[in-house]
């Protein structure tokens, strides 16, 4: 079985927007992979005019929030850095124990990469000042800049969500069969570690588990 990988479009977000954006994207992905009996739950974003769907599982919501908290902590320690969150779905297979592997094996059949560029301060568009001849109140220009930036981020989020929908629609054959009583497939959310090298080490570990390359799509 091939592992399908989807690299989502990079989003430029501010620190306070991370939680909402990640919740929206991760829950949307999981909803498309929660093929068991679900009662969909509509959630409105507070910062943007977007409604996304959760599968309504409380445990899942807690785990996702935990991972988002860890990610935010990491971002605070590594400001102004591009970061990536990996949401992976796998199957658990039993395997003969060996020196380097466990009894069970995780077969990753799908990976989603959420790319974020967290900015601490909003960028100042200096090009605009060349066009304006009239002196504008800096307060008003800041508000306009913020609203335009907010609209851009919202449009980007919509693009990402449409990208998810398109990916889900186009690639269906690799999805494993639905097990009775299981709501969603086993998943794993990987966030960058304290160091970049450790992040790479995590990927190597995954390769050992899966037995075939996962980074290259």
């Amino acid at each position: 079985m091939n592992c399908e990988v989807c690299q989502l479009k990079e989003l430029e977000v501010e620190h306070f927007e991370i939680r909402e954006v990640l919740r929206c994207i991760l829950h949307t992905i999981v909803f498309h992979r929660a093929l068991g009996l679900v009662r969909p739950k509509d959630v409105d974003l507070e910062l943007f005019e977007i409604t996304y769907v959760q599968c309504g599982d409380v445990e899942l919501e807690k785990k996702i929030d935990e991972r988002i908290d860890h990610f935010i902590s990491w971002v605070e320690k590594h400001p102004n850095k591009k970061s990536q969150i990996c949401l992976s779905f796998y199957e658990v297979k039993s395997k003969q124990p060996s020196w380097f592997t466990n009894k069970t094996e995780r077969l990753y059949w799908e990976q989603w990469y959420v790319n974020l560029n967290v900015t601490q301060h909003p960028k100042h568009h200096s090009s605009k000042s060349h066009h304006t001849k009239v002196v504008v109140d800096p307060g008003e220009s800041a508000i306009e800049e913020r609203s335009s930036r907010r609209a851009m981020v919202e449009a980007s989020i919509r693009e990402v969500l449409f990208q998810i929908i398109k990916f889900v629609n186009e690639k269906k054959d690799h999805v494993p069969p639905i097990s009775e009583g299981v709501i969603y497939f086993p998943y794993e959310i990987t966030i960058p570690s304290s160091s970049d090298s450790a992040f790479g080490m995590d990927m190597i570990k995954r390769m050992l588990h899966s037995g075939h390359p996962t980074m290259l799509s």
Partner: protein, 614 residues
């Protein structure tokens, strides 16, 4: 046979798939159906239809079932049009303010414009000649088909919330505002192609087909990428306003006259009770004790508080015109607006017929001084009548304020009580308190404006309450009777009084009387008896009986007590020579009691003689 079974499974999957898609689409585009679903989703149980494709959506609307039946040919496409209906704009008209819903606005406005903003097409493309899979291959095939249908439905569900029409749906679903547009749907098996103009600005998205051999399931949507060109705006509506000076507000003078409005918004609320509109059943709450309360308040505002349903009463707006009940209310208002003024007098009369009169409350004088002549006239007709009652006061300190305050002339005197009842004086008012509580409860049944005036705290605040006086309560009723027409309250009161052993009108009070002299009591008593008999002679037999009863009730107890009584304050409480209890609060002997008994006998004889003459 096997082929039939297999084709039956496929047909079932396709049929359920179409129904599910229709349900998802209508639930996220038609506000009325969405509301029904929200109610059904509140139930925790999962229905059979919910289990299809593992997506719990709640009960299917009945319209959907009918549509499924009409589109039962699975080979025909199912075309779902989401149509934006824009009503003609006449937002400057005042009438629109009274029209709550978009549908009503449409009726009032000009011709509406319908535009298809989304078109969903669900089709099972099946070739004429095909080979169906069989055996194990078929089972695996159906599982895969089913899984892919689930995936498609998931993505469709998500996409429904990302398209521009969803914002319109959310606006219409909210009840905070009304709009000049609406969303309707049309489901058919064919569709008229879009014109070139219509296609401009529209985009097409096709979901990946699901292979369902021998054919495939195809779902596509054509939608307007932007709806900003349609000028979708909310109807002009008044901003919500919290009325702080509503009738019955603790900060508002209950008898204040409210300014009238040219628009007649106040007047419009009047006919609901006075004119008994034809479909006013939900608004009619004929309480005989409630309408009398609203005297002194402009009938319009009163009516708006008394006759309106709870929704209206609790709304912060001066008139809630968005919710369906007040929609009818609003329409009714319009119809009756013309006849409001003419009916004002009739309404007042209707309103004033019941026995209750708020003007009999201690605050009556200020009440009567209201600017509204109507109020003055009607208030004067039902002036408060003093209700002499057995007093339950404990000491003169409760009496003296009463005696000195001329405005408290309407308050009944304290009844004599024995010392042993002091311990139960807290309870005595239990009889009174229970009585009072009952009144407060009953008052609570009335509209809010009424209940505020009749609220127990208003009565309890009366300093005389602890002494067991009924002034605050009974006078507010306006009834000249001792007891109310409500027998239950009266009985409970009497029972409680019996329990507390102070219901006997002849009980001796332990109140010290400072300025009374024993020499004057007898003569005064005699003169008062004589005056009383003269008065009786002049009045009718019924009145005489009433007076007698009153006398008996206010008569001092036969038993004597060492305490002295004050006659001075009591004498000032009575009017029209009704009260004669002033002499009863002196130290008494058996002789006095006998003399009193004789006087009663004389009176009785007199009455009998009078009745015999007739």
């Amino acid at each position: 046979m096997e082929m039939d079974r297999e084709s039956g499974k496929l047909e079932q999957i396709v049929s359920q798939f179409r129904s599910k898609i229709l349900h998802v689409i209508l639930d996220s585009r038609v506000p009325s159906l969405h509301q029904q679903q929200q109610e059904s989703l509140s139930l925790s149980r999962v229905r059979k239809t919910d289990k299809w494709f593992n997506l719990v959506l709640g009960d299917r609307p009945p319209a959907l079932e009918n549509l499924n039946f009409s589109l039962r040919n699975l080979l025909d496409p199912m075309v779902i049009d989401i149509i934006l209906v824009r009503h003609g704009s006449c937002s400057s008209s005042v009438d629109n303010l009274y029209v709550p819903s978009a549908a009503a606005a449409a009726a009032a406005a000009g011709p509406s414009i319908e535009t298809v903003i989304e078109r969903w097409v669900v089709q099972y493309d099946c070739p004429r000649v095909f080979a169906t899979p069989s055996g194990a291959d078929a089972a695996v095939s159906y599982k895969k088909i089913y899984k892919k249908c689930i995936l498609l439905l998931r993505s469709l569900y998500t996409q429904m919330r990302l398209l521009p029409a969803y914002i319109i749906f959310r606006q219409l679903s909210s009840l905070s505002q009304t709009y000049n547009f609406d969303l309707v749907y049309k489901v058919s098996s064919f569709s008229h192609p879009f014109s070139r103009e219509e296609e401009d600005g529209m985009k097409v998205y096709s979901f990946a087909p699901v292979e369902a051999l021998p054919g495939c399931l195809c779902v596509s949507v054509t939608y307007h990428a932007s709806l900003s060109d349609f000028n979708l705006e909310p109807l002009v509506s008044l901003p919500p306003k919290i009325i702080t000076d509503y009738v019955g507000s603790p900060t508002t003078d209950p008898m204040r006259s409210f300014p009238s409005s040219e628009r007649g918004a106040h007047a419009t609320s009047f006919p609901l009770r006075g004119l008994r509109p034809p479909s006013s059943a939900p608004f009619q709450r004929p309480h005989s004790w409630s309408s009398g309360f609203h005297r002194g308040i402009p009938p319009t505002r009163t009516q708006s508080l008394a006759g309106s349903p709870p929704v209206y009463r609790t709304s912060p707006k001066p008139y809630d015109i968005t919710s369906p009940p007040t929609d009818l209310y609003g329409n009714r208002i319009q119809n009756h607006r013309v006849s409001t003024l003419q009916q004002a007098t009739a309404f007042d009369e209707y309103k004033l017929s019941p026995p209750f009169s708020p003007s009999a409350s201690p605050s009556t004088p200020t009440y009567l001084s209201g600017a509204n002549p109507l109020l003055t006239r009607h208030c004067s007709e039902t002036a408060p009548v003093t209700i002499p009652l057995p007093l339950t006061g404990r000491s003169t300190r409760y009496l003296s304020p009463n005696s000195s305050d001329p405005s408290r002339h309407s308050l009944p005197p304290l009844s004599p009580r024995s010392s042993k009842h002091d311990a139960s004086s807290q309870e005595s008012p239990s009889g009174i308190r229970s009585y009072r509580k009952l009144e407060a409860l009953r008052a609570g049944e009335s509209p809010s404006g009424l209940s505020n005036l009749y609220s127990a705290p208003k009565v309890v605040r009366d300093s005389k309450d602890d002494s067991g006086r009924f002034s605050g309560l009974l006078s507010s009723s306006g009834s000249p009777r001792i007891g109310f027409s409500r027998s239950s309250s009266r009985l409970s009161f009497q029972d409680d009084m019996d329990d507390c052993e102070f219901s006997c009108p002849f009980d001796v009070d332990d109140v010290d009387v400072s300025d009374s002299s024993s020499q004057n009591t007898e003569s005064k008593r005699a003169s008062e008896f004589t005056a009383q008999s003269n008065l009786v002679g002049k009045k009718s037999q019924d009145a005489a009986v009433g007076i007698l009863v009153h006398m008996l009730r206010t008569a001092p107890p036969l038993r004597q007590d060492s305490s002295c009584y004050s006659t001075h304050s009591l004498r000032t409480e009575y009017e029209g020579g009704v009260g004669i209890a002033s002499g009863f609060f002196m130290p008494r002997k058996t002789a006095d009691a006998l003399e009193e008994l004789n006087s009663y006998r004389e009176m009785k004889d007199l009455l009998l003689s009078k009745s015999g003459m007739k």
